[in-house]
């Protein structure tokens, strides 16, 4: 990975709170593509398009995508085999 514009999921942690209702970067995910298990905060973030793309730090495949229109939010987490978070 050699792209200086790439951020990580920490940069969109506020957006993730909006989507999920609680802090998500410390949650664990399993990449559906390569099986890597790590904190959501490790996901690489592409934030310069209309939506946000979060990719696996190991295999670079898409794990999470979300985009907002003036009235709707679209969230695709099909790249995560599971999400694991603290109960509250």
């Amino acid at each position: 990975m050699n792209d200086p514009l790439v951020l990580d999921a920490n940069a969109v942690a506020g957006d993730l709170v909006e989507l999920f209702g609680f802090e998500m970067t410390a949650a664990t995910h399993r990449c559906a593509h390569c099986g890597y298990v790590a904190a959501v905060g490790t996901l690489l973030a592409w934030t310069h398009g209309p939506g946000v793309i979060l990719r696996c730090s190991t295999c670079r495949e898409v794990v999470v995508r979300f985009v907002r229109t003036p009235t709707r939010t679209y969230l695709d987490v099909s790249g995560a085999a599971y999400l694991e978070m603290r109960r509250r």
């Binding site: 990975m1 050699n2 200086p4 920490n10 940069a11 709170v17 609680f22 802090e23 970067t25």
Partner: protein, 244 residues
């Protein structure tokens, strides 16, 4: 645990220049909550026509400072938000923020150590919150800070780090990549494997590593630590994007 993340109107209570391009802004918050060192706030500016620009800025102050947070912000010349802070904002002005945000790139004394902190440029800001919290809580966790800046004038928190090194057992390693003043005893090149090895040896076995700064620096340092057999799960990273 409820996690309200509503926007609120903060009031600027203090402005302090750190370097020619970096300034700290103290904000009083009506709905203040204690943050965790390493967390950030989102800042949102709204133009009269309704256009909004939003950026994230790391908290530099320790959580023990009630009712306020201090954000240390680098001026990005063509930025949408940071020039407003540097060129327009004055004490008493109000600005829209939400936070504290983040749960991955955080440290608190219960997590222990040793701490191996690596920063490029303004990436030192969240790490400074960790060091200030370590000091405020009288934590005895060993800590090493490896920082890279272009010139000595660009070293953020220079005097405070010197004081922490003298009084608080903090081991500081600094490198200046563009120019060095006469008598400079630190490094004079980009962070590389020998520097990482020295920092790792000073921190001790299996440290908790936090790396923050420009994306390419963070990538190189994180890969370098893993090559030096630091377990990847012990290496936390926060990328700030391109160098300014």
């Amino acid at each position: 645990m409820p996690e309200p993340l509503a926007w609120q109107i903060a009031t600027v209570t203090g402005i302090r220049a750190e370097t020619p391009q970096v300034t700290s802004f103290a904000l009083a918050l009506p709905a203040w909550r204690a943050h965790r060192a390493g967390q950030h706030y989102d800042v949102r500016l709204t133009a009269p026509a309704g256009y909004q620009a939003q950026r994230s800025y790391s908290v530099a102050s320790p959580p023990s400072r009630e009712g306020q947070v201090e954000l240390t912000i680098e001026r990005i010349p063509d930025g949408e938000v940071s020039p407003y802070f540097h060129d327009v904002l004055e004490v008493g002005d109000r600005v829209e923020v939400r936070g504290p945000i983040g749960g991955y790139f955080v440290w608190e004394p219960d997590l222990g150590g040793p701490l191996l902190l690596i920063a490029g440029g303004s990436g030192v800001v969240p790490l400074m919150a960790m060091l200030r919290e370590r000091s405020a809580s009288a934590s005895s966790v060993p800590a090493v800070l490896l920082t890279s800046a272009r010139t000595v004038e660009d070293l953020i928190y220079r005097d405070e780090l010197t004081a922490l090194a003298a009084a608080d057992g903090l081991h500081v390693i600094q490198t200046l990549t563009r120019s060095q003043p006469p008598g400079w005893t630190g490094y004079a090149r980009r962070i590389d494997q020998p520097m990482l090895s020295e920092a790792l040896a000073a921190a001790g076995a299996t440290p908790l590593a936090y790396i923050c700064g420009p994306t390419l620096l963070v990538e190189a340092a994180a890969n370098g630590l893993v090559e030096l057999r630091v377990p990847p799960a012990q290496v936390r990273t926060e990328r700030f994007g391109p160098t300014s």
